[in-house]
């Protein structure tokens, strides 16, 4: 009895909720090829040589030329041109390879932020929305790092509400220029950028337009560097535009298309931010594990204590699970891109379209990746004990630098809201059939529960059933909430947060189970014992979290019989066979402790 719809068609964004994906359909990181592994090593070597030995110097900001010079070195290695096609001076890599670069560089603290702002929100608006002349003029120099870029969207009174910015662009009488006036805030790379992508409203437009502004245009001043909690080595400035004269041909795309550009570019940034956070997490796990092995208390290394093993196992498991989802989505994006290009679409447009298609997944991954990182650095501090609280130990920087990730590229609240909002919009537009499975779940709710043992054989049969049920629970609660509030659901943010959590956990748990299933098919079950335990640990975590979120949501809007029925349904859909998670965690932790680093 399955309420999921049939497989074997091009995968659509958001469809994971109502579709049973097969293990062989997803890409897993273990499939990266030799060249991709070389790139991974190259990025690690770059950090080991140019970044890690100078973290204090970078964070001190004493030498304003240091960060740009490190970006120059990254440019020489080709790390700034991975997304740029060969004809524009880059390497035209597929999306998942650019994800791999983002992941490894993600362990680079402030440098990771500077580099990703340059290659992502700095370069991509021009690459994807620029016309031929604009691309030819700017992209090759951005791809080598000769020019550095920044992205100016946020203003003092316009943060999450990005389209409300007040910066103005007034056309000159001859129509040849726009005169920019306004104030931007929190601009990464602001202090040294040569090129700014600036969002502003033309005359009294309702929507933003986007402009490529060269620092040399004049009329640009800035405040001192912001004093920040973390990523202290990353330049963050307020920027003032005072009669900054921008040639009319430097408008990107069309008038009033700026908000759309901003949203789409942030969307790409989201999945990249998620994977970068996992790179940071892996590095933190390795450092914390080494410390746990070395630090002795009560006559033995603290890594031998169950409480520490529990932490290490959870840190590693969450990263492994989240990573499974990131590269799964990355491949979906690559596949969609290839399909669009094969259908005759031009490359830049296909890139955008493929990312837009998976915008729900991108928002999920931003939230999950950044929250896994925060969990990992928090436990990292704890494993270090008092030394974790020392400003001279490595956990101090890891802890502070992690925090920004839940704030920029759309706060995690905004992204949680977006996941559900986008899902419902797609359902309403008929792009995603949520109704049929939601109705089926309601029917199932009233039917006699299916107590029969599963006939199917194979790996993860029961676990997949639990997973399917978790999705059903999500459909049941969302369906009921939609029916209850209709168009007013957007005012019930607390419930939307619960729904988002159910969705997120379902996606991540499914991804890790499918990854391990595929890995077992590749390497045999014996070789995947640890990975299997991680899939079990994560599934239990996801189901429990989903159950708690579902309960909160139901209790917030249902009463009487409806409430009782739904709570019963939720219980049924979040039932999971008991499993000895203590033993599972010990196995995982022992493996990590023996390797002395994040080993997967």
């Amino acid at each position: 009895m399955s309420t999921t719809v049939e497989t074997n068609k091009a995968i659509k964004g958001g469809e994971f909720l109502i579709r049973e994906t097969k293990a062989q359909e997803i890409f897993i990181p273990e499939e990266f090829n030799e060249e991709q592994r070389m790139i991974m090593q190259q990025c690690k070597d770059f950090l080991a040589k140019e970044v890690w030995p100078r973290l204090d110097e970078i964070d001190s900001m004493k030498d304003p030329k240091l960060m740009p010079s490190i970006l120059d070195k990254a440019g020489e290695l080709g790390l700034l041109g991975t997304s740029v096609p060969a004809e524009l001076g880059g390497f035209g890599m597929d999306f998942n390879t650019t994800m791999l670069v983002a992941e490894v560089i993600g362990a680079g603290h402030s440098v990771a932020v500077a580099l990703s702002a340059h290659t992502g929100i700095g370069t991509l608006p021009i690459l994807y929305y620029g016309n031929e002349e604009q691309k030819k003029k700017y992209i090759p120099k951005l791809a080598t790092g000769e020019w550095k870029a920044a992205y100016c969207l946020t203003e003092p009174d316009s943060g999450s509400d990005a389209n409300s910015g007040k910066t103005k662009a007034m056309p000159t009488a001859d129509g040849k220029h726009y005169i920019l006036n306004g104030q931007k805030m929190w601009i990464t790379n602001g202090g040294f950028a040569d090129i700014y992508v600036v969002f502003a409203k033309i005359e009294n437009d309702k929507n933003l337009s986007a402009f490529i502004v060269e620092k040399s245009f004049g009329g640009i001043t800035m405040n001192e560097e912001e004093k920040k909690m973390g990523i202290k080595g990353s330049s963050t400035r307020q920027i003032f535009f005072n009669d900054c004269k921008v040639p009319a041909e430097n408008m990107l795309s069309e008038r009033e298309n700026g908000f759309k550009i901003a949203v789409n570019i942030l969307n790409i940034g989201r999945i990249k931010l998620g994977i970068a956070a996992l790179g940071g997490s892996k590095q933190t796990i390795s450092i914390a594990t080494r410390y746990a092995n070395e630090r002795k208390q009560f006559g033995t290394s603290i890594a031998t204590f169950g409480a520490i093993k529990h932490k290490i196992a959870d840190m590693v498991t969450k990263v492994f699970a989240s990573e499974s989802a990131h590269y799964r989505a990355g491949q979906n994006i690559d596949d969609a891109y290839n399909a669009f290009v094969a259908g005759g679409m031009d490359s830049a447009k296909a890139r955008l379209k493929s990312l837009e298609e998976f915008a729900i997944e991108c928002a999920i991954l931003k939230v999950h990746g950044s929250e896994v990182l925060d969990f990992v650095v928090d436990e990292g501090v704890q494993i270090y004990g008092g030394m974790g609280f020392s400003a001279e130990g490595p956990m101090d920087r890891a802890y502070r630098d992690a925090r920004i990730n839940r704030i920029f590229e759309g706060t995690n609240e905004i992204n949680r809201l977006l996941t559900i909002d986008m899902l419902l919009k797609r359902a309403m537009k008929g792009q995603l059939d949520l109704m049929t499975p939601a109705m089926a779940v309601q029917k199932e709710l009233l039917a006699i529960p299916d107590f029969g043992a599963s006939e199917e054989e194979g790996i993860f049969v029961k676990e997949k059933k639990a997973l399917n049920n978790l999705k059903k629970a999500g459909l049941m609660v969302s369906g009921a909430a939609v029916q209850k509030f209709m168009m007013k659901l957007s005012e019930e943010q607390e419930i939307l947060m619960n729904l988002a959590d159910m969705l997120i956990e379902g996606y991540i748990a499914e991804s890790v189970i499918l990854r391990v299933e595929k890995l077992i098919a590749l390497r045999g079950e014996k070789a995947c014992g640890i990975e299997k335990e991680m899939a079990m640990i994560y599934l239990h975590y996801a189901v429990n979290k989903g159950a708690a979120a579902g309960r909160e949501a139901i209790n917030a809007f249902a009463q009487g019989d409806e409430q009782r029925l739904m709570l019963m349904g939720l219980k049924r859909f979040t039932k999971i066979d008991p499993y000895n998670l203590k033993d599972a965690r010990r196995k995982v932790a022992n493996h990590v402790i023996e390797k002395g680093e994040y080993p997967f």
Binding site: E34, I39, F46, K49, T82, F91
Partner: protein, 246 residues
């Protein structure tokens, strides 16, 4: 100028070492392999010389089975022009040196560089034997190497100081840092590594007269016993009765 750089395919420095088959084989399961770090420096210097010398080429060579090819391609990605793999287990130093020498004779190089030693079995003699077999000078450990026409100026590390030498080409050098800055491959290098020639050559037969019998790991470190700082009597008792050193 034709430069040959000989590279080893060795376990990453953080690998856990253990043996199988009655302690006669290194257990490679789960081990990550890298270019020998000293070889990496010699490769970096070779690339620097190539870049400064019009027409110069760098060939990398490894004596090893097919699974060393990713390591060889890594060397190609750093900037070598082509590669040779001599298809044999590198069983001992003489065997390896003989393979290198035979290959070098067949091509004719102006310079052969390699690390001062491999970091797996650390014999540190291959460069010397290759020099002997070819009748060329060989110097190790070389920390500075500058080509000047048909000669080269070298600096060598010696006990408590440095020795400066002038050598005629061709010669063999076992290198170590700081002979060159360690090189990270750039993206273009990585992407072209697959397309560069990698020739597989069958080994010449060699009877080196050496046969491996067995490996032995050092005994694991014993557990530490903690004794309160003011309990000297206990310490003395333990040193007498347990450690039996007093």
């Amino acid at each position: 100028m034709k430069i040959l750089v000989c590279i080893t395919h060795v376990p990453d420095t953080t690998s856990k070492i253990n043996f199988t088959d009655n302690n006669t084989r290194f257990n490679t399961a789960g081990v990550q392999f890298i270019i020998g770090p000293y070889d990496d420096y010699s490769l970096a210097r070779a690339i620097e010389i190539k870049e400064a010398t019009p027409g110069a080429t760098v060939t990398v060579l490894n004596v090893g089975p097919a699974d060393t090819e990713p390591t060889i391609r890594k060397a190609l990605s750093v900037g070598a022009d082509d590669a040779v793999r001599i298809n044999a287990e590198p069983t001992d130093s003489f065997f390896v040196a003989k393979q290198i020498a035979e290959h070098a004779k067949s091509i004719g190089y102006d310079l052969i560089l390699m690390g001062r030693e491999s970091i797996d079995y650390n014999s540190g003699v291959v460069h010397g034997i290759v020099g002997e077999l070819l009748g060329w000078p060989s110097v190790s450990p070389v920390m500075k190497l500058d080509i000047e026409g048909t000669k080269a100026k070298l600096a060598r590390e010696i006990e408590g100081g440095k020795e400066f030498l002038e050598v005629n080409l061709p010669f063999v050098a076992g290198c170590q840092e700081p002979i060159a800055e360690w090189k990270i491959p750039n993206m273009r290098g990585i992407m072209s590594a697959r397309t560069k020639p990698l020739k597989v050559v069958e080994p010449v037969s060699v009877d080196s007269g050496v046969k491996l019998q067995q490996f032995e790991l050092p005994p694991p470190k014993g557990a530490v016993k903690m004794i309160a700082a003011d309990n000297v009597a206990e310490l003395v008792t333990l040193l007498k009765n347990e450690a039996k050193v007093l």
